[in-house]
Symmetry: C2
Subunit: 220 residues, 2 copies
Amino acid sequence: MSKGDLTRSRILEEAMHLASRDGLDGLTIGSLSEALSLSKSGLFAHFGSKEALQLAVLEHTRARFGVLLVARMHRVAKGLASLRAFVNAWLDWIALPELPAGCPILGASFELEAHEGSLRDFVVKLQRESRDRMAAIVRDAVDAGELRKAVDVAQIVFELRGITLAFHQELHVMRSPSAREHAERAVCALLERHSVDKPEPASQRVRSRVAGHRKTRRTG
Amino acid sequence: MSKGDLTRSRILEEAMHLASRDGLDGLTIGSLSEALSLSKSGLFAHFGSKEALQLAVLEHTRARFGVLLVARMHRVAKGLASLRAFVNAWLDWIALPELPAGCPILGASFELEAHEGSLRDFVVKLQRESRDRMAAIVRDAVDAGELRKAVDVAQIVFELRGITLAFHQELHVMRSPSAREHAERAVCALLERHSVDKPEPASQRVRSRVAGHRKTRRTG
């Protein structure tokens, strides 16, 4: 890394922190220059415009999450183990101390819903990539014979996103101490529902054994 | 309603629309005065400050959702029917044409995560009320013998919130045509999982009958 790259990386790390706290639109050259004790003109020289800075922060955020994913999924077997590692990394990411109000990409997605333009397009692209990646991991778990062949991959991705969003809200809005536990239980229940060797709930097992027993006695 | 109340209500309806589109912080006396062709000084006379306007918009939004809920839950039996009516009203609310980027209370909850103050406190209070209300409806369904006695009410509320958040994101960020279908399927699966007369999946039924049969033969 050159000295310029290091400076840029340090700037973007602080910008990511500010974008988490204040939203992408709340991130200004002014607040960033104050936080870093760098001149506004120096920051303008690095990025050229507020939008270029915003795009660079989103890209930096994506890369940072990518590094976390690589670390967590390295040497983890394809399939359900990878899916669990991915979701756990995601929950950890949402709770990362450097991100006081969670992932800036998620925040930006809410901010930009009704605002057409290249920023919105980029956020949608990142969200789509993230869905595609998760869908591929779910399909691996199907191919590995761990999730049922008939599962609706898009439905599972939808529900996993819902769990991470609820976790984000319980953690950052409600500041609930049980946010993580609720998220993990929801993930377990979802994967169990689609698992090939899903254990039957005890009540059902008893009931169906009794039914099987009766049937055997009637026919035997 | 007096003429003053009517004017205030008309102003707040427009302000709710703007807060949905631009976020609570993006709602300004200036943009509101432009949208309504009313003078800035007239608007200031109504609200006194930007924060008072923001609080009034949140309160107006809560009241508007309350009216929708009353209309939808009127004469619906307590229990699971009410829970379904509540969730459907909520999904409709998220997709309401007057709210171009969904519920301003939800938007504000993301905006204000790391910003302490009376606005944040008010949003958290509204969110808590909404969770409490949903929890009470889930408990009614338990009391009515429709959901299992052992259900974890807070867990169900967490997962239902996750589904509505995923719906919001699929609809307003991804603009996916299957958002509603995914949300409804997720709600069905969640309620079925906790339902008293949950049917066993066919595959499980066959497998456990076979198991029961074998066991009977072994022991009989």
